[in-house]
């Protein structure tokens, strides 16, 4: 066992000292994940609209005007539906949020928009950016509506008349206070009559300085618990991770062929250790390297880019099984030629095709159906599938069994073929 460990540690040390190799194994996959993640992210927040549901169950005209105001916003894509449908779709992650206006909700205590119901917003608490963005849009719509009310003196006069009547009929306000309030609102009415005669100036400092109340928005937190990536990084990091594993595969395949061409393999073969120990050492080194790369990239993904892990145990199994898979592929690739050039050429050709077909370059969801069928023959596809299952697809351990078994089988079969060919070379 010690010999296997010494062999593995030697290989890991060699990998760590190969700066160029390390670039392809760690830096390149990370850059890929960041590059494509950033491209897709900017597309989400810039070009596309925020998809929300609007539930308008209020009979008030103000609520209707508010919804019309939202409809005019270029930042929103609105679908109208019932409360239950909206809640379900937000819960499934298919809509970013819902905005509800209902007569049953308490009314906002706004002087100018007194029939305005409370605006209820349902959104996943983790969508902090979208939440703030939506609140800004709602506030904007609210103030635009309020401004429209102010700009209509007849409406303000009507509102003041209603208030004076309410003050008169109130039994809780003492007579002195009633007198003061009535004087104030009468003065306000005279002022609005003056505005109505002389024309209003929307840019007057009076309007800008009005002490408006905050819009009546209530936030409701709805957690998303189903299969949709919340950010582009949840797609690009599994892809980048698989690129890292391809890098490890090529690095170790090259190290095996270098051992053969340089003669160090001959030294190993005549040492008092078995061939099985040598191969186990190689396998262990590539396995540990794959695990290490996975852990490093996933840690960066989680801590820096907020990529979630829905199923941590599943992720651990995905890391292990993918490492087994690519350790087997290392052995197969290493015997695809007798020289370093031959192995490098054949190896990268196979790796690139695997990646291309398996969704390492373009996500599978964007591929035609025939290519999706073809992708079943790619280890990259199953690796990405397993990682996505644990990261955002919400796979249970039961759901993960199939991809994990496929990955393990690929590893075992390719390792066996590789060892068989290697033994032939030794003859």
């Amino acid at each position: 066992m010690n010999s296997i460990l010494f062999l593995a540690l030697k290989d890991l040390r060699l990998l760590a000292r190969d700066k160029f190799g390390l670039f392809w194994v760690i830096a390149f996959p990370l850059l890929m994940a960041l590059f494509f993640g950033a491209i897709f992210s900017s597309g989400e927040s810039g070009a596309s609209r925020l998809s929300i549901a609007v539930v308008n169950e209020s009979s008030s005209s103000v609520a209707k005007q508010f919804v019309e105001q939202l409809q005019q916003s270029s930042a929103l894509s609105i679908r109208y539906m019932s409360h239950d449908s909206a809640r379900t779709l937000v819960g499934m992650g298919k809509l970013a949020a819902f905005v509800e206006l209902s007569d049953s909700a308490k009314q906002a205590s706004s002087f100018f928009l007194k029939d305005m119901p409370v605006i209820k917003v349902g959104i996943d608490p983790k969508r902090k950016a979208e939440s703030g963005y939506l609140q800004g849009i709602l506030t904007q719509a609210y103030f635009v509506l309020m401004q429209q009310q102010i700009m209509n003196p007849a409406k303000i006069q009507q509102a003041v008349d209603d208030l004076i009547l309410q003050i008169d009929s109130s039994s809780t306000i003492n007579p002195e206070t009633k007198a003061v309030m009535k004087r104030f609102f009468s003065s306000l009415k005279q002022f609005t009559e003056y505005l109505s005669i002389n024309g209003a100036d929307s840019s007057s400092s009076f309007l800008e300085a009005s002490p408006f109340a905050s819009p009546p928005i209530e936030m409701e937190e709805i957690s998303v618990d189903v299969d949709k990536p919340r950010s582009s990084f949840e797609i690009t990091f599994p892809q980048g991770l698989l690129w890292g594993l391809l890098g490890v595969t090529m690095a170790f395949a090259m190290s095996i062929v270098q051992e053969r061409t340089k003669g160090t393999y001959l030294r190993l073969r005549i040492a008092p250790i078995t061939r099985a120990q040598i191969l186990a050492g190689k396998g262990l080194a590539s396995f540990l390297a794959c695990v290490l790369i996975s852990v490093i990239l996933m840690t960066i993904a989680k801590l820096v880019f907020g990529v979630r892990v829905v199923n941590p145990a599943g992720l651990a199994l995905a890391v292990v099984c993918t490492a087994v898979c690519f350790s087997g592929i290392v052995m197969l690739v290493s015997v695809m030629g007798r020289t370093e050039q031959a192995v490098a050429g054949a190896g990268w050709a196979i790796m690139l095709v695997q990646s291309m077909v398996g969704g390492g370059m373009v996500p599978l969801m964007f591929m035609p159906s025939w290519m999706k069928v073809l992708s079943n023959f790619s280890a990259v596809k199953w690796g990405i599938y397993a990682f996505e299952g644990a990261i955002w697809r919400g796979f249970s351990l039961h759901d993960m069994i199939f991809p994990l078994v496929v990955l393990t089988m690929i590893g075992v079969v390719t390792f066996t073929i590789g060892v068989t060919i290697l033994m032939r070379y030794e003859q």
Binding site: S3, F6, K262, G263, T264, L266, R269, I270, P272, I273
Partner: protein
């Protein structure tokens, strides 16, 4: 003792080693001399157990095949290629190979230091192999073969491509190891190396052993006569009985005892303007055996 019996190895149509048999005695420095492609490395690889022969067997110290772990512990091999990890330091390379032979702790440190001293590279022990010159790499390649203190040492062309300084150091170290009683198998295509170092030499060509004996016996048996070529200052007295053939002032003598004959001529009063003695060597032996030169 190493016993090689009827060893045969074939790659497709090519016969690399053709039914060779020989014994190597304990403490002997045994040479395999032959041109490139003669089958020396294939023979060595079968002797160390890295390659399976199609026929025949190798037994080391009467204990069995070199594929058995106990036998392997006693074997050291310096392959012809520089079998080193370039991105590890000299010390790390030696320690790694030492560990494969179950050396640990202080014993490992001691042996690594010994090997570094043997290679004359103690002051470069922390440097990566990639920074070494060709000669230094060759010396570390040699040191890796002895780090685990083997009884039997196989050195496959250990001086290929090295500078004269490194070559001399390697020769000195090989002689030291021989003096310690180790059995050494040495392959080379440099006849002067075999002539300087080896107790016995097997001359190999096309996978066969053409001759096997001590260097002196090989020269005596297959080298032919030596030749004295001289230009005389003047014609000698008629009383002097000159050996060989005299044409003008040019004298040519074919003899088995060139030094004695030259001394006799000087004592007889013959004065030389130039004198050259061509003695037979292993190159001549190879030429006489194959009709080709070693480096052809």
């Amino acid at each position: 003792m190493i016993q090689v019996t009827n060893l045969f190895k074939q790659y497709g149509e090519l016969i690399a080693v053709d039914h060779i048999s020989f014994d190597i005695y304990d403490g002997e420095l045994f040479g395999l001399l032959g041109p490139n492609g003669a089958g020396k490395t294939t023979t060595i690889n079968m002797m160390v157990g890295a390659l399976s022969p199609n026929e025949g067997s190798v037994t080391i110290n009467n204990e069995g095949f070199p594929t058995e772990p106990d036998v392997r512990k006693r074997i050291g091999n310096a392959p012809q290629s520089l079998a080193l990890y370039d991105e590890l330091t000299a010390e790390e390379n030696l320690a790694f190979f030492g560990r494969l032979y179950h050396l640990r702790g202080k014993e490992l440190e001691k042996r690594v230091m010994y090997a570094l001293e043997l290679a004359g590279l103690v002051d470069r022990k922390k440097d990566r192999i990639s920074t070494f010159s060709g000669g230094m790499k060759r010396r570390i390649n040699f040191a890796c073969a002895v780090v685990h203190n083997p009884e039997v040492l196989f050195l496959d062309e250990p001086t290929v491509g090295v500078d004269p300084q490194s070559r001399n150091l390697i020769f000195e170290r090989i002689e030291e190891l021989k003096n310690q009683g180790r059995t050494i198998v040495y392959t080379t295509h440099y006849m002067e190396e075999a002539q300087r170092l080896c107790d016995r030499v097997a001359i190999v060509d096309h996978g066969k052993i053409l001759a096997l004996d001590t260097v002196e016996n090989l020269i005596t048996t297959y080298g032919g006569t030596s030749v004295i070529e001289a230009e005389l200052e003047s014609l000698p007295d008629e009383s002097i009985n000159l050996p060989g053939r005299l044409v003008g002032l040019h004298l040519r003598v074919e003899t088995d005892t060139p030094l004695e004959d030259a001394m006799h001529l000087v004592e007889s009063g013959v004065r030389f303007r130039t004198l050259r003695i061509d003695r037979a060597d292993l190159e001549t032996v190879f030429l006489n055996l194959t009709g080709r030169r070693l480096r052809d």
